[in-house]
Amino acid sequence: MNSMKKKMKGRGPIMIDDIHPITENSNYDLYFGPAHPGSGNFGVKLKIDGEIVLSARADPGYLHRGFEKLMEYRVPIQNSVLSDRLCVLEPLNWNLVHAEAVDELMGIDVPERAKYIRVIMAELSRIQSHIIWYGVFSKGTGFDTGFKMAFGYRDYILDLFEMITGGRVYPAGYICPGGVRRDFPNDAEDKILKVLKKMNKMVKLEEIENPALNARAKDVGILKREDAIRLGATGPVLRASGMKTDVRKDEPYEVYDRFDFDIPVKKTGDAYARYNLGIEEIKQSINIIKQALKEIPEGEVIFEKFKKPKLNIKIPEGEVYVRNEVARGEAAIYMVSNGDSKPYRAKVRGPDFLHMIPVLEFLLRGSQIADVPAIYWSLNICPADMDR
């Protein structure tokens, strides 16, 4: 070892300033688009100088279907089937937002058992979405074992969904206005507890630190608290920058005020903090489901009038703004009705519309090309939610 050091004594490491560029002008444009293996259904136009990104401009619209106007042509029971497709990675949470909006406009009292079932299904969907976040972030930064492990464990939850609602990915409007469509099967509660034990095992595996991933994620894409609020970030992205806020605690909906759970917060705001926050939120969700399964009462699961729904039930006149916490942040629906059986205007506010355009453009400025996938996937994006 000592002889090797002597030979290299005259030459230190080569710094990047010592390398002379071949051409004078090293500016170019790069389109990090949907066909790139490291990106989703979303394009970003980058202006690059050498290795540093000078500016970024988002190019959305690959998945735009015009959701808000599609909802104006359909009655609420048809809209509840359409609302799972707002974001394909967390369908039950969006089902819940739409059902709450129609419940509040019509003034319905949802039965107690239905509220507990809604909370259990929403939390299972949140766990499943955070598993996808972990898997896809690992793939984007080169840790392939994490990707395969995450999608292996996710299938236990999809089997539960199939047993309870009938569909692996899309539950066909299970959470509908008035309650839920059908009750749990007889052995559902035991199976849910077994799956939660497996989830505990998975969280222990996810907490093992991988040095390559840490080197790519620490101090990369730092988002400070004032910038996060100014640019409209919500949910885990805001909590990883040091702000302790959660819609489930600020304005509790359904029965969240009866459970005892914590809100994890990190202070550094880089990609490593966001990625670890997802793992801690899974633990809190497991906690909530266990408490809900102990306290769940017997009874009806749907409001009496909606057991055999007619297609043209009139919605009373009025307007309502409902906020929920989906896995990616704050989701809201603003619904206006003028007395007809179809909503007059349904505006959908998703968390990813703000994360993928203002926040991403702000974070990519001044970073290196090699860090672009780590920043991009650490924001937990879902392009379907942005384009609607």
Binding site: A35, H64, G66, F147, F151, G152, D155
Partner: protein, 144 residues
């Protein structure tokens, strides 16, 4: 010795393993990624995901396409080398599906790309994807 056309001979070479280009649309993402994952492992059949269309044999169109994204899918199809196969997943590629009255989605994929196999479902299960790949192998074996 059976006489086969040149196209049939090249297509028979496709039987051994097929390589897929990763054009995962939104709805297909939730059901095609488990096919890659460890429960329904597709590497045991020799199928892998590649990053460039020049290496790929099969293009999966999984889910609805908008006017903006079908233009890119056509460019990708032109860059693939012969022999190539297009598989259409989901009911949105056949009739427009749930978004039949949307102004921005395309209703029949057959008008834009030549499709070899359709897989129904919303979204189709991973077992259906494997059955479709099996049908491709049989279809190719019987080509004249």
């Amino acid at each position: 010795m059976v006489k086969r056309s040149k196209k049939a001979k090249t297509m028979r070479k496709l039987i051994k393993s097929i390589w897929i280009f990763n054009w995962f649309n939104s709805c297909g993402f939730a059901e095609l990624v488990p096919v890659v994952g460890s429960r329904w492992d597709m590497e045991r059949f020799g199928m892998i995901i590649v990053g460039t269309p020049r290496h790929a044999d099969v293009l999966f169109i999984a889910g609805y396409q908008t006017i903006k994204s079908i233009k890119k899918a056509q460019r990708i199809y032109e860059q693939m080398a012969e022999p190539r196969v297009v598989i259409a997943l989901g009911s949105c590629t056949m009739t427009g599906g749930m978004y039949w009255d949307s102004y921005n989605t395309i209703k029949r994929l057959d008008d834009y790309l030549p499709v070899n196999i359709y897989i129904p479902g919303c979204p189709p299960r991973p077992e259906a994807v494997f059955e479709a790949c099996d049908k491709i192998f049989k279809h190719v074996k019987e080509l004249e």
